[in-house]
Subunit: 293 residues, 2 copies
């Protein structure tokens, strides 16, 4: 079945669509109440709150799809402040002509990523616009800050070590390859970073700044950190990208420093904590290729 | 200036756009930190959380624009659970070709509506897609629930009075008129409903169910309330729409019962509380035409 403007009318077709796809896969007692807003009882009154819209084209790509992406992206933003991601909202903008089978595949992907990241989707919204069958998703998220943790760019100071959790550019190179019809085996790195962050915080690593390296790449993020903390960041001469992405970048004249990722982070810690931090990151599934840069 | 794909790259043009339009108008100490997620210290740990995407076409219409709409819609969803709206996120999806002057006008409108509703925009995101110069906005919101209040559809019971805060269909009729090029003086009713709700709650009215009557109209909302509470709702023979909207509906063969609004609510209370509730609503600017139906 294809999405039509009637699915956005707010009438029976809207409620059928919500029931048959979103309620079915995201089901939890809060969402199932289907009220105008979800009522949440938190275990703390200090929270992190973030929002992100996902407009990736193509919607399905090697290593993931917009569904996995929209969960990981928002979960990672919460983690970067040291929060425990907990509740997500999902706002869908569907273009007319979208196959409901595709939408269901995306919803399933969201469900799996949400389970992996330990979050629940508790609020949702669905709109339909004219178009060519694409889909855009906004996810906003709430994370709990139990302790008096302050992870922010401005805490970076002179002499800090800068560590990345893995090679740069895989997501960006994967999307570009798909869009340009280039055949290779580059996969998106799209992943929730709960495990890496938990290992660091549970081991009392005093992380100064932490950012997920998405749109704009490492260069943009390091610029933001340097500017917020009035420091200057120098990179050592390391291989930032893996072999495949490096050769992809060489052919197209791209710089891995500016390539986006969806499951990589960069952090700053005092130099004395750098080695322990690196070892902890390397023990995590999504941090095996971590390096001090 | 027109929005181009470079404004969505995550690089300098993105940060300039954010700085010159969003930071300028939404400025507050939380947003200004420009971190991946906003850290919020709440005065309670019971909150309401909601999300809504706005895709209205045309973007500017008599009585408002997408900016006022996206603030009011999310604020009203929080109010409907008895929460005090406090923090909003704003996720912008901009189509290439959008005039930045239009975007700034929308941002200003958001700022004014946020001030009227007493909320701050503390998190944001901007993406760019191909298109014809339109804009879509997602707003998610957090409201505080200080008391042990339970306003939900399922609390409606037999014998309850059903009260609406004003005439139905003005927003929908206004948008349809704009889209069809029909000249009349129908204006959108787009408004934040803080004042009506505050008057009721401060006077200890035990509101059973409360919903803002948006997409799908009163019929859809009453159906949801009836279904959640296993009741049957009968409407008395009252004029649901004002004179202008009634004649607009008559000409086009539309039913005000199914017409959307953006600044109207419907609620249920015990019959004994109905008259006091109605009087309180009528003293509010956006509730002057309230009636028991």
């Amino acid at each position: 079945m294809k999405i039509t403007s009637a699915h956005g009318s707010g009438g029976k077709m809207t409620s059928d669509l919500i029931h048959e796809i979103f309620e079915k896969h995201f089901s939890n007692h809060i969402l199932n109440e289907m009220e105008d807003a979800a009522v949440l009882s938190l275990t703390t009154n200090r929270i992190a709150f973030t929002t992100d819209s996902f407009v990736v084209n193509p919607v399905f790509f090697p290593g993931g799809d917009i569904g996995r992406l929209c969960i990981c992206g928002t979960v990672n933003d919460l983690l970067m402040r040291g929060a425990v991601p907990k509740y997500l909202s999902a706002g869908f903008i569907l273009e007319e002509g979208l196959e409901t089978e595709k939408l269901e595949k995306i919803a399933l992907s969201m469900k799996e990523a949400a389970n992996e990241a330990g979050v629940s989707i508790v609020a949702g919204d669905t709109k339909v616009i004219e178009g060519k069958g694409s889909v855009y998703i906004n996810t906003s998220g709430i994370g709990l800050l139990n302790e008096n943790r302050d992870i922010s760019a401005k805490r970076t100071s002179e002499g800090d070590a800068v560590i990345i959790s893995g090679y740069m550019g895989n997501h960006h190179a994967c999307i570009l390859s798909s869009r340009m019809g280039i055949e290779n085996s580059i996969q998106s790195d799209c992943a929730p970073l709960n495990d890496i962050v938990n290992r660091l915080l549970q081991n009392d690593i005093d992380v100064h700044a932490m950012r997920d390296v998405t749109r704009g790449g490492l260069a943009t993020v390091l610029n933001e950190i340097a500017s917020a903390s009035c420091t200057r960041i120098e990179l050592s001469d390391t291989e930032l990208a893996d072999e495949q992405v490096t050769s992809f970048c060489n052919i197209l004249g791209l710089d891995p420093l500016y390539m986006g990722n969806e499951g990589k982070l960069v952090l700053t810690v005092e130099k004395k904590d750098a080695q322990k931090t690196l070892e902890l990151m390397k023990t995590s599934n999504y941090g095996q290729n971590a390096q001090i840069i």
